[in-house]
Each structure stands twice: as C-alpha cells, then as structure tokens.
C-alpha cells in the first residue's frame, strides 16, 4: 500500500465506511438492554426491539414467536447488511470481506460433516448453518469421505481451498478427525488473514493485527482447554495452534505442555492475558473464561471505531452485531424459560 492511504481511502471505501459507522450507531445501547431485561414475554421483547434499529423485522411472523425465530431473523438482518457492504465493495476491501466469511464457511462445512456422520438429514443441519458462511456447494459436503475428497470435489473452488494445504490426508472422517480438520483449517485461515492484513499495512494492519492476534491466542487457549482429557497428543495439539498470536512461539510451546487449567493459567501469567484470567470467577459464580474473552473482544472491536480509514470497522461491526445477537438471544432464552436469575449475564457493548 502506498503512503498516505487516507487521501484516497474515501474515494473507494468512504461510502461503506460511513454506512458502517451509521449502522454501528444503531447497536443496542445500555438503556435498551435494561429495558429488554425487564420484558415479561417474548412479545414484549419484540415490541421493544421495534423501537430500536431493528424496526419491525419480526412483523411478518405469523407464528407464535420463539427464540429461534428471533435468532434467525436477527441473523438475516445482519446478513442483509453484510451482503450490501460486500456487493458495494471494491478491491482490496472485497477480499477482506471474503476473508471474513471464511470463518463462517469453515464452521458450516464442519457442521455439515458432523451432521453427515450422525446421519442427520442435510436440511435439518442447513437451518443451523450461519447465513454468512453459505455457499452453493455446501450441501454436497457429505459425499466426501476423506479430507482430500472434500478438497478435490467440493472446496477447490471456494475461498477455503488455500487453507487445505496442511490437512490433506486420506484418513476417514470420524469425529476427532473432523475436529482436528476444523482447527487446522482455522489455523491456516487465521494465519492467512493475518498475513493479508499485515501486507495491507496502514491503519488496517494497526487495527486488525491485534484483533487477529487475540483471536489466534483465544483459539490456542480454547483448544488447550478442550483437549484436556482427550486422546489428542501434545505434539498434535501444538500443530493446531495458530501461530500469529502474541503467545507465539514460547507461549504456545508452554501451552502445549499444559495439563490442566492451572498450568494454562500460568502460561498466561506473564503476558497480556493475565488480567483476563484474573477476571475469571471460580466455580459457580463469576464469569466463565469464554465470557471474559468475549468481553475483551467487544472492547477491542469498539476501540476499532476510534480510527478512521481502515477496514477493521467492518470486521468490528460484524463481530459486535454478532455479540448483540448472542445477547438478545440469551435474554430471550432467559425470558422464555423463566430463568431470570442469569438474565443479566449478557455482554454489554459500550
């Protein structure tokens, strides 16, 4: 990228940036959450959402309202916005958007393969797929029996193809292998995305790199946490860690050796993640590690809006919106199950 990208950033991407900032201003505020939490039924929730930017997005629902309907409709709305951004984007922003969708595509592919393994019908699983990660060949995923099959037949044309280099094998796809495949895919995806942002330089790199570094490290932690007590060997585990995070290389090495949560916590001790682990509550009360990570992510994404002339706002907006959807779904779930004690543990977007 040439110097002084600020000068002509607006010529290509100014409209979209303005749009995304406008959309960001439409995120639910603290006040909205307070009102949402007070709702008695899902109908109340709907009425309240009508006063926000969501408008009457549920107006055409004739069936009684359920949490999943709300979830789907909110996702659809996000998807519409995203599609609009994407359709109006120019290079290299459109590549950036493609990278953004890749993570959802990976999730969808894995979801479908898992479904095929459990002999569920494709339609049933399609509903659960994230709309942002849809692609035409997706439904044919279940004809593949090995990862190379999958690559050769189906994914070779999709943006996911480059990430497959590391995971070509003739192993049959059982549950563990699928999980390993997912993590390998994700690893090469996030590294590629990181490289893209780094090469792009400028403010985009300054904003996106820390976000992706955090994302990589979070995955490393989560993989470690989930691999405790499974048959995954430590060496294999280490190959799954994305190497673009702040933990690379020593931290990842230590993490690979960790055997329980305490050891994992010790790894984080010397780095930037110490305050996060300290915020985790123990046992019953307090936040879970996942929540703490989400909070940190939200904070980083909100901060991304403080700078101008970069692509990070699009990423940040999508992530914030997703968090908002998770929050509303959480609140709706609590309302519909009359489980009000935990209703306040959504993650506020400030």
């Amino acid at each position: 990228m040439l110097e002084g990208a600020e000068l002509y950033f607006n010529a290509d991407h100014g409209y979209l940036e303005g749009l995304v900032r406008g959309c960001k201003a439409g995120l639910l505020t603290q006040r909205d959450y307070i009102n949402l939490v007070q709702c008695e039924t899902l109908e109340d929730l709907k009425i309240h959402l009508q006063t926000t930017d969501y408008g009457n997005f549920l107006a055409n629902q004739t069936n009684p309202l359920t949490v999943s309907i709300i979830d789907t409709e909110m996702r659809k709305k996000l998807c519409r916005e995203f599609e609009y951004f994407r359709n109006h984007s120019l290079e290299p922003l459109s590549t950036f958007f493609t990278y953004m969708t890749c993570s959802y595509m990976i999730d969808n592919v894995i979801l479908l393969m898992n479904g095929a393994l459990q002999k569920k019908s494709v339609k049933e699983i399609l509903v659960k797929c994230h709309p942002l990660g849809r692609f035409t060949e997706m439904e044919a995923v279940n004809i593949a029996e090995t990862p190379s099959d999958l690559f050769n037949a189906i994914l070779v044309e999709t943006p996911l193809a480059p990430f497959f280099q590391d995971c070509m094998s003739e192993n049959t796809l059982d549950e563990l292998n699928i999980e390993i495949l997912r993590n390998k895919l994700y690893k090469s995806y996030i590294e590629a995305f990181y490289k893209f942002c780094k090469n792009h330089g400028d403010v985009t790199a300054e904003i996106m790199c820390p976000i992706l570094e955090f994302e990589a490290d979070r995955r490393a932690f989560i993989i470690t946490l989930n691999s405790f007590g499974t048959e995954l060997s430590k060496e294999d585990r280490e190959t799954l860690y994305p190497t673009c995070g702040k933990l690379y290389p020593e931290g990842l090495h230590l993490l690979a050796q960790a055997e329980d949560f305490e050891q994992m916590k010790r790894v984080a001790d010397y780095g930037v993640y110490k305050p996060l682990f300290e915020a985790v509550g123990d046992g019953s009360g307090g936040k879970t590690l996942e929540d703490v990570f989400y909070e940190h992510e939200v904070q980083m994404n909100v901060l991304a809006f403080n700078r101008q002339f970069h692509y990070g706002v699009f990423y940040a907006y999508t992530k914030l919106k997703e968090q908002e959807i998770r929050n509303v779904v959480w609140i709706a779930e609590c309302i519909s199950q009359r489980h009000r004690t935990k209703i306040n543990s959504y993650i506020p977007i400030l």
């Binding site: 109340d44 006063t51 055409n60 494709v122 035409t136 997706m138 044919a140 189906i154 044309e157």
Partner: protein, 829 residues
Amino acid sequence: MGSMFRSEEVALVQLFLPTAAAYACVSQLGELGLVEFRDLNASVSAFQRRFVVDVRRCEELEKTFTFLQEEVRQAGLTLPLPEGALPAPLPRDLLRIQEETDRLAQELRDVRGNRQALRAQLHQLQLHSAVLGQGHGPSLAASHTDGPLERTPLLQSSGGPHQDLRVNFVAGAVEPHKAAALERLLWRACHGFLIASFRDAEQQLEGPVTGEPATWVTFLISYWGEQIGQKIRKITDCFHCHVFPFVEQEEARRAALQQLQQQSQELREVLGETEHFLSQVLGRVQRLLPPWQVQIRKMKAVYLALNQCSVSTTHKCLIAEAWCATRDLPTLQQALQGSSSEAGVSAVVHRIPCRDMPPTLIRTNRFTASFQGIVDAYGVGRYQEVNPAPYTIITFPFLFAVMFGDVGHGLLMFLFALAMVLAENRPAVKTARNEIWRTFFEGRYLLLLMGLFSVYTGFIYNECFSCATAVFPSGWSVAAMANQSGWSDAFLAQQPLLSLDPNVTGVFLGPYPFGIDPVWSLAVNHLSFLNSFKMKMSVILGVTHMTFGVVLGVFNHMHFGQWHRLLLETLPELVFLLGLFGYLVFLVAYKWLRVTAASAASAPSILIHFINMFLFSSSPTNRPLFSGQEVVQPTLVVLALAMVPVLLLGTPLFLHREHRRCHSRRRQQPDKDTAGLLDLPDTSLASQGSDEEKAGCPGDQAEAEFVVSEVFMHQAIHTIEFCLGCISNTASYLRLWALSLAHAQLSQVLWAMVMRAGLSLGGEMGVAAVVLVPVFAAFAVMTVAILLVMEGLSAFLHALRLHWVEFQNKFYSGTGYKLSPFTFAVEGE
C-alpha cells in the same frame, strides 16, 4: 379575526372519564379535535401501560391489513380511498372486524397457497416435458460424438465380467446460474464414471414463486455403477435440481411426453379457476379494507390517547389532563356529556390551575394561514403574546412590492395567484403532489397580495416592464422651455443634453397626480433622481416599521401586567429611536415640503446636518433648515443618550427592589404567605403566561429563580442589541432601495437588449414580424424566469428578513409551542 391579534386563551382541564364511556368520549374528542392530551404516564414505559393489550390487538390487525394490502398491490390492483364518515369502531366491533379480517386473510392465504402449489406442479410438469423433449437429442448426439467412449463398456458388457452392469440415466433440470457449478462438481466428484450433457431448455418458463421467466438448463447424465448413482443423486439434491424418471425407450418417452402435456393442460384449467376465485377474494378485500384501515387507525389512536390518562384511585374513572381553548370548553362539555350519556355516569370537565406555559393556539383560515406560516417559521409565539401575523398581511406584501415594483410583473403575479385562488376547490389542484407546486399553492393568497401591491408600487415608480406610462399629462413642458429660452436649431444640434429649468414659467406645471412623472424616463439623470427618492423612502418606511414594532411591545406589557416595562423599556426605546432616526425622517419630510424649486440651489444638505448633530457642531456653508435647529438637535442627542442607562439599569433595579420588598414582607408575615400560596391558583389562572418578572409576589418558585446578575445580563444584552440595532436595522432597510433598483435596472436591460433591439430590427414589415416571434419568446421566457421567479424569490427573501429580524425582534419572542390537538383529521386535508 379578533383572535388573530394574540393567541387564544387556553386552559388546562381535567377530564374525568367514566371507565365505561372513556373510549366513546376520547373517540368523540378525536373527531372534534379540540384538546391536546398531556402524558400523565411519562415515567411508565410503553409496554406497561393500561391499554397496551388493545393497542397490540390493533397492531396485529394492522399487520394483517398490511398483508392484505400487499396482496392487492401484488395483484396489480389499487385500493380506493375510503368514503363517508367512519367513526372509531366500538370495542365489540373490533372483534367482528378481526374475525372477518382473519377469515379473509386465511382465505387469501389458502387460495394463494393453492395457486402456488398448482403453479409449482405445472412448473414441474413443464420441466419434465422439456427434459423429455430434449432428452433424446443429447443422447443421440452423445452416441455420435463420444461413440468410442460409450461403446467400449457396452461392448464389454456383452461378454465380460460386468454382465449386469448397464448404463443408467439421471435426467433433470437445473436453474441456469447453477448449471456451470453443477457440471464442474459432477466432473470433479465422479469424473470418468459418467457422461453428462447440458443444454438450455427451448422455451422460457415462469418461476412458480417469482413469476419471472427463466431459461432452465436440462441435463442428462448417463453413468454406470450404483455408488456413483448415489453420489450423483446427492449432488443434484444439493443444487435443488428437479430430477425426473427417464425411460430409455424412445416410444415410452413419447407416450410419457403426451401424457404430461395432457396433464399440464388439465392443470392449466384448474389454475384458471383458482385465479378467478383469487380475483373474487381480492375484490372483496378491495371493498372492505380501506374503511377498516381508517377505523382501526382511529381506534389505535384512541387507545394511545387513553394510555396517557391516569387511573383514579377507585378505578371507576380515568383522569386525563388536556389543554383546551377556553372558547371550546362548552363544546367539549357537550361532547363529553353526549358520548357518556349511554354509560349512565357523565364525564366531567373542570379547569385546573397550572404553572406551565400553555400552548399557543391561533386559528387561521385559508387566507391567513400563509401569513401565520411566515411568522411561525421564525418561532411560534409565546402564549398570549402579540401576534405579528395580522400586520404581516399588509406589511409583508407591501415591503415585497417596494422591491418588486413593476406594473407588468405585478400583474402577471397577481393573475397567476388569482388563477390558483379561483381553482382552489378543484380536486385535481388540491391533490397535486408536486412539492414545488404545493409550495406555491399554499401561498396563493400571499402571492395574490404581493402581486396586487406590486401593481400599486409599479404605478408609483411608473414602470410597466420598465417602460413609463403616461396616464396623466406630464407636469413638465419641453415646448415652454424651448420657447422661453429661445433654443435655436444650431444650438439644439450642438448640445446632446438639454436641461429643463423648473424656475422658468410654464415649464413645470405642478406635480404629477400619482407617482413618478413619465418625463423622467427620458431624462439622463433619471437614475440619480430615483435613487435619492428610493433611499429616503426606504429610511422612512424602515423607521416607521420599527417604531410600529416597538409600539406593539406596549400591548405585550399591558397584557401581561408588566407596567414597569412600559416606563422602563418601551419609553426609552421610543425616545431613542424617534429622537435620532425619527428626527431624520422629519428632516427628510420637512425638506421635501419646504424647499421649493426656486430655493433649490441653496438647499441645505440633510446628511451634513445629521452628521453635525452627533458631533455637536455646525458647518457655516450649510444653511439651517429651520430656526431653533441648533437647540433642538443637541437636545435630542442628549435625550437619546440619556435613555441608554435608563434602559440598561431600569428594569433590573426595579425588579431587585420588588424582590427585596417582597422578601422582607414575607419574613414579617409567615402565616399569610401560605394563604397567599393557596390563593395563588386563581391569580395565576387569570394571567397565565406571566414570567418570573411579573410584578408582585409570584410564589416561592419564581422567588428562588430570581438572580440579579442574570437579569442584569439579560437586560444588558437587550440594551446593546436595541441601540446598535437601531442603527444597523435602519441601514438594513436600505435593501428596499437596493433591490428595487436592481429590479428596475434588470428589467430595463432586458427591454433594451432584447425587445427594443428586436423592434428596431428589419425594415420590411414581413421580416420584422417573423423576427419578432423568437425575440418576444426570449423576452417572455426571460421575464418570467429571471424577473418574476428569480427576482421574486430574492425580494421575498429580503422581505422575510426584514420581518423576522428588523421588525419582530422589537417585540416578539417566539418561544412558545403550538397546541396540537388530538384529532383524527388527516394531515394536509
């Protein structure tokens, strides 16, 4: 009309609506549009209010209505506008409407679902026949081109180990944009085991959902091996292909094709029936929907209004607070009694005292509306403040006309406005949606007066499309001048300019009866004569206008009982304004009247006199205008300057003293104070709208708000603004001169450069006539575009400014808010 001078008296009333009759009462109020409800539940969120369930039901219904409306729109029909009086439906009618709507919606959904299913079926059949119709083509072609490939396994099958292995077919159709991807995927997933042929269908088919025609792609896949077959089936599933059974024998295929065609024929008939039924249902919707929509909208409005009421402790009635014009109170009472008589208990209205400033209500008719609009655009007047609109009716068009003075242009504008006024009741004009047209139409009476006044000032300036008209004989005689001074032919040939001397007898016979003498249009010094005249006229008009504004302030002070302001503000202001600029006007008028043509040579200069007045000096070359001038002028300046400290300090000191006196009195009589508070409601009711500066003891709330420094500050700003404003505003009125000059010059240029040039062109009759057509066209277009529209807009803008800034800041605060009554009437009707 009397109510135009200040806004009507508005009272806060409390309505006790018996629960049973509340709905009827509020719906009646909505029909009348008399009251503005105050929200008594501001702290309660929207979904915790009392009638939220009913509101939600109305919303549900509206949702169904939207569905029905959308259906009607999709069918390419329009909904007629509802006619007749449609009262808000009774709650029990709601059930009926709801039932019928639901039934209608259900019916529509069913029929549409049916139609959809039939269409999909038909689509399927058509695709099938397309596939079959084309099926033999590709397979034949394939056998020719790919002959060796296909034949090899076939030959083997006769005697080889794969005896039971035979070629199978999958035939189907796929959406065109997916065809390429499908083909690629098939090839990648199982290449070598199949032969696929794709081709476009011969005719376009309408999609069952969207109805858009599309050319589907049919394909025929021949493969061998059962596993491959499964894979292919999965892949075709994933692309949502329509797969059809494909028989190998050509005769069987033909038979199937015929059968399909027969089936689709039958299906078409059924579809036709369904369409017919659908149109019947839509017709019913068209008839029923519009009145329902209006009724339910009214019902929702009523419930939203009821949501603003609070519930009495006994739950027997709802209590509403509302603003209502005092004049309408009896009507309100009557309406409430009428609509609550059924319930047995009558609704009660009574006035309650209130410290808030009531809203402003000024009733307008179609004539005054546009003038009131001009005032309201600046700011809605405070409650019971003097309303500048009635004066604006005359002054606005007049000041406009001063800048736009031309008989011809004025007449055109007048005729345009007159046409609009005469056609105002025609529905086509009324319902026009063009925004620019609406703007003109709303201001048609304004335009009418503006045109009329322009004709008048045009006569004064003696200009009609920049040409002077000689209605009366001119007061100047060139013949007399020529005879008296004995101009010879040689003298006349030498001199390009000749001057008429009014002192020569017979040359000047007397002033022209009305306006400017037409002889001036021949004179070279026409412009300098007009400039002098227009400049003085501007100053005179300006000072008069501003003085009028200050005088209007008197009515404000009198109405609000602030007598001290009369003495401490209006009087100093008047003295300041009249002492300085009023005197200037006097000088102008005096000079016009007293200096005759005979003494013109030695006439004193007003400008020098006025400058000397401020310098307290006199110049020896400038003769005094009248005796005693040396005494009058310094006196006026001193008087005017002496008024500044009075204006600056008078009101604050007075208020401060009042405040202290009040304070000490209260300390002496603490008991009486509570009584005073109890009495207070009556006094505040009698003169609501008085601010904290109101004389006397206006309760402890105002007491607490009294801060000396703030009052001083306010008054200082006001004083500075007024004193400097007098000078700058007077100068500002000179825009009258500037714009009228610009208008006159522009129209003269247009006349001279276009029309006169055209007229002087061409010696022969025929040529001139032909040339004049385009010349006149250009003249006409430019007259309308530049002189009428552009100049008109600019003069309008300046007249607006003179009213808003120079006139209204003398007395008008414009900090009120409008009474917006709860009414069912649709905006813009």
